[in-house]
Symmetry: C2
Subunit: 201 residues, 2 copies
């Protein structure tokens, strides 16, 4: 049996819960309190030396980590991971965009809002992160303006990666009123058969 | 002919120059002054809506961007991208680690050191970024302590992704004296047939 080292509030961990639900893959869930240091204990660092959720232990005892690598692993061979070389590049383009230019702004402001108190250093970064977060949302809005999904015209792991923090971006203070293409796309993801909400952990 | 929208000093752009050299793929190189706003012009944003180098224009006019997605694209079908599902997951695990936990500390401090002046907000972040950068280097050191390369025992795009900013980390103030496994690995990458230096742009 697969084990997911999870955190109910983490968007990165939710990506893994979501792909496992969409693919109807059974797993055992272990909640890890990442906000209070449980990802940095010696026992957890043997699972993920980088000290973050999500991490997965496969049936043979192998560990894998990094949310978007886990999306790729579980989706390989399914319709959520189209199979051409160009589509692979496009999927990864959006998934690296998500981790570098989106999660670090949209996801971080949500985490700070939910798990405060924050430091003065963090507080001073908020205006910059808000500006950069809206810039990333603008890149998504422009891409979705003429498309139903990010890659190949079908729902893929690129959508799931970007959905995780976008659909709860209001919890970090982002307002999607002026982003109608994103709002339509969020509705299409939430309508996928097998969909689970981030609050279902 | 392939066109690379490049910046001579960018480690992310260097990843693409390096894989193209290792695979002996010809390309046209266009230098973009990312430090002085040339990645945010309307003309460049049509190539990469996220406004960053590297970006690539393929012979058919298609654009791709995100350095690690480009590594995957060029390496697919070669020995730099091993072909099993588990190896794919391991490659991506380390490549997402690189973009989230390594480049954002080790690469950012190098950029600030080379392209100042920096803001007071940035200056206050330096101690945190140094601490987190050394933590990422520690994760790499522990992994390489018993291995020649990151995945599958052979040089792959995971190595190239992590090499780019690690081998010039001293330019951001990092000292690798206490990281002998990393130093040995850097030497193995620099010895690959076809290797080019970051200064060869």
């Amino acid at each position: 049996m697969l084990t997911l080292y999870d955190n109910a509030d983490s968007g990165n961990a939710y990506k893994v819960r979501l792909i496992l639900a969409l693919l109807d893959i059974p797993y055992k869930r272990v909640e890890v309190d990442s906000v209070h240091g449980e990802t940095r204990t010696p026992a957890f660092l043997r699972r993920n030396p980088n000290g973050k959720v999500p991490a997965v232990e496969l049936a043979d005892g192998t560990h894998l980590w990094e949310s978007n690598a886990l999306l790729w692993y579980f989706a390989e061979g399914t319709a959520f991971l189209p199979d051409s070389r160009m589509e692979h590049a496009e999927l990864l383009q959006w998934m690296f965009f998500e981790q570098y230019s989106h999660e670090t702004k949209v996801g971080v402001l949500r985490a700070w809002a939910r798990h405060g108190p924050i430091t003065d250093e963090q507080r001073r970064q908020i205006p910059t992160l808000e500006k950069e977060g809206y810039r990333a949302l603008g890149v998504m809005e422009a891409h979705l303006d003429q498309r139903d999904f990010f890659v190949a015209g079908v729902p893929t792991i690129a959508d799931l990666a970007l959905y995780a923090y976008t659909h709860v971006s209001h919890q970090g203070g982002f307002d999607l009123s002026d982003y109608p293409a994103i709002r339509g796309w969020l509705d299409r993801i939430a309508a996928l058969p097998g969909y689970v909400a981030i609050t279902d952990a």
